[in-house]
């Protein structure tokens, strides 16, 4: 899951205090270059989506790249400074020029437009000078999820992308689309799913969804075997799944330490920096990065080192992260001692991703992907707010997309205010100064007086 709620930075240069944060970024680049090298020596390569079962690629040792990460990297490459608004407009224009003027919906469906014109556009153009790290290698296959289950706009955009790809004379890699049998809003059987999902996923998720997804995974395995020449090994998948569990349990332990320690040892900037490690779940390197993060947080707690010793207020950031300008979060810590301590990214993985395998790793994998804890209303977020001893929460006004913004700010405002936790909904503009002013006013008028 990636957030594209971004702002043009008024404060430059966020501070990452953890070595693991830098390590994750460095590893991501290193992985990609290594993958290119492997492909140059004859290995296959898969281009895939965020929600596909990467565990299978890891188990079969198939290098892959995730479309949203690829899009984000290519967007960043075009920037000199965080001018993402310009980039989004440029991409929308590029989309129109690529697909024709009738595709003006691209401007509104910004979330998917980024994935399309940012990531896939580079695939279509294959212009190494425009692409990060010299562009992608030749694709062996494309694996997507959401045929018929994605936002209809995203699904159709995907088909349009591919038609354009073929029309430009690109060699067509075979495509496998997983269909979601459980789309948001998946309605969990247990309201407090986070208490039980790891061990009781097979009771929470209806059996017919699991059955269908297992069939799809088997079909995907056969597809990967056919196109790559590699053979699937269940023992390797078990190893991968256990590493996924270890990875996310380290994140859970880190999250719990952060939540329960006042002042917090690591703010959301360092937490957000960890997220790319999710693309390496199921690997020893991914697990080790998560362990590194946990060890650092633990050390800071033991040494009573705070991210901001002057912490006065604890804030929660709800929904999509502000990846384009993480310094934004730290402005309020500097000014008010109002520290953003909680965000969805580490925590949803911590609570939602680990699965007890019960000797059936494929079914556990299905159980993992069918329910990631996303888009289910404010219940889990409220739990996090209480756990993290939050004084107030902030989220963007949800403005654009039914799929991404399901259970948007209105519902959250109702739920948070009912629970006695003030929620600030800020404008979804590109103007960080305006948003800083909104949050500052929230802190000054609603949070600081309460603290006194």
């Amino acid at each position: 899951m990636v957030g594209y709620a971004v702002t043009r930075g008024a404060v430059q240069g966020s501070i990452k205090r953890l070595k693991s944060s830098t390590a994750v970024t460095a590893f991501q680049k290193e992985y990609f270059l290594l993958a290119k090298d492997r492909v140059s020596q004859g290995e296959p390569f898969v281009y895939t989506g965020v929600m596909t079962p990467h565990e299978l690629f890891e188990a079969m040792e198939i290098p892959f790249v995730v479309n949203m990460w690829w899009a984000a990297i290519n967007v960043a490459k075009r920037l000199t400074g965080p001018r993402l608004e310009q980039a989004a407009k440029a991409m929308a224009e590029r989309g129109k020029s690529m697909f024709g003027p009738d595709y003006d919906q691209l401007g509104r469906c910004a979330h998917c437009a980024m994935g399309s014109t940012g990531g896939f556009a580079q695939l279509i153009d294959q212009d190494p000078e425009q692409a990060a790290y010299g562009g992608l290698p030749e694709l062996t296959a494309i694996v997507e999820s959401g045929e018929g289950g994605a936002c209809p706009g995203a699904e159709k955009l995907s088909a349009i992308d591919f038609k354009e790809y073929l029309r430009r004379g690109r060699k067509a890699p075979p495509v496998f689309r997983l269909e979601e049998s459980a789309i948001p809003p998946f309605f969990p059987r247990y309201e407090n799913w986070w208490e039980n999902i790891m061990d009781h996923w097979d009771e929470i998720i209806e059996p017919h969804r699991l059955d269908y997804r297992v069939d799809e995974l088997k079909a995907l395995i056969r597809f990967l075997e056919a196109v790559t020449g590699k053979t699937f090994n269940q023992d390797k998948l078990i190893e991968v799944m256990e590493l996924v569990n270890e990875h996310n349990i380290y994140w859970k332990k880190a999250r719990d330490l952060i939540a329960e320690t006042v002042p917090c040892p690591a703010d959301v900037v360092d937490q957000l920096a960890q997220y790319s490690a999710q693309w390496h779940r199921g690997t020893k390197e991914g697990r080790d990065l998560a362990k590194m993060f946990y060890d650092e947080v633990k050390e800071k707690v033991e040494n009573k080192e705070a991210a901001y010793p002057g912490e006065k207020l604890r804030l929660q950031w709800l929904k999509g992260g502000n990846f384009g300008n993480t310094a934004f979060y730290q402005y309020f810590a500097e000014k008010y001692g109002a520290v953003f301590v909680a965000t969805i990214y580490i925590s949803i993985a911590a609570d939602g991703y680990p699965r007890t395998l019960y000797k059936d790793p494929l079914r556990a994998l299905a159980g993992r992907h069918l329910f990631l804890g996303l888009y289910h209303g404010p219940g889990w977020d409220l739990k996090e707010a209480i756990h993290n001893k939050i004084d107030g929460a902030v989220m963007f006004e949800q403005a654009a997309c039914q799929r991404v913004s399901h259970s948007g700010h209105q519902m959250y405002k109702q739920a948070y205010e009912k629970a006695g936790i003030p929620l600030c909904v800020i404008s979804p503009t590109w103007d960080a100064e305006k948003q800083q002013a909104e949050i500052s006013k929230f802190i000054e008028t609603r949070l600081l007086p309460k603290r006194k």
Partner: protein, 375 residues
Amino acid sequence: MTAFEVMQKHYRQRDIAAREWKKKGGKVVGYFCDSVPEELILAAGFFPLRITGQAGGSTKVIDKYLEPFYEDFVRTGLNMLLTGEYSFVDYLIIPRTKDSIVQQYSHLSQIQSLDSSTKLPTMYLYEFLHTRSYASEFYNRDRMLDLKKKLEEWSGKKITNRSLSKAIATTNENKMLLKKVVDLRASDPPRISGVEALQIIGSSMFMLKADHNKLLREYLDGADKFSARAGARIFVEASPLDTLQFYEIIESCQATVVSEDHCWGNRYAEVPIDTSLDPMGAIIKRYYLKSPCPYVYQVGVRSSYCLQKVLESKAKGVVFNIFDWDPSQIWDYPEQKKVLEAKGIPTLRFIEQRHLIPDISPIKASIENFIATIK
């Protein structure tokens, strides 16, 4: 009143037949979209009522909970549910069609948990996959069997093959009679206006089918006396249009809407149920393979269907009317436009439209210009 006037009354006052049914001790099952098998609801002994919004209606209550980026008809429909305007509905089936529909299952549940005084019908999420494949066919079959079980639970009795066959016969007759309406619209010259047709077709979803069939037979008995309509032949490709305003605008410009592709028009009446199969299997097959809804099918299938229907109706031009926040229809448009124009069929597009158009003059002016070019 004439048969048409009765249908018109039910189109405008969408709750009266269901409320009458309730007075007699019956129960009402509401549903969204046209992907819910009415035959199962009828066979269970319930009154099937398609839930609609209200063009220009209030959204005061739902605005507290829902962002603006959902279609107007969804927002006003939800508002009506929350304010008790649908209090006579006992059960509500929410199908997994488009996001703005299926998400309401979760939204309504959350609203109930935030405000325990909220009264809503008992809800059921009717889930199915959107592709046509070997695997999805079996999955969808099982989901429809689950729906059947739920209806049996609500009614307290088994749905028998006999009751299914009877329901199928009724809905098939309805489709057969509506097909005659379709043919009269597409005849040269057309004998029924688009405005009339929407009321004839739409009223079917607010009445018991058997009663609607009687009205249709009576209406069609006088078909040889229907006046011929002059003017340009127009096809409408649109988001769900459950109001007359847009067609009234078109037909005030010396044109007739001879056909359309949206779920309140001809598409509703297509693909009768195959009575050579076992009843449940036949219902499953029909809903699995029915005419392609934009929220379900790929762009290529949708463009082919659009072109086929335009050619069948001998329309001379296509007008698109796409609601604001309809992410599926908007992505169909470019390909549909391409295939139509490749066949020399001109198109006109309106996007980001409201359920109730606040100022019709610019739209009317565009349509007049468009029609002038195709006459």
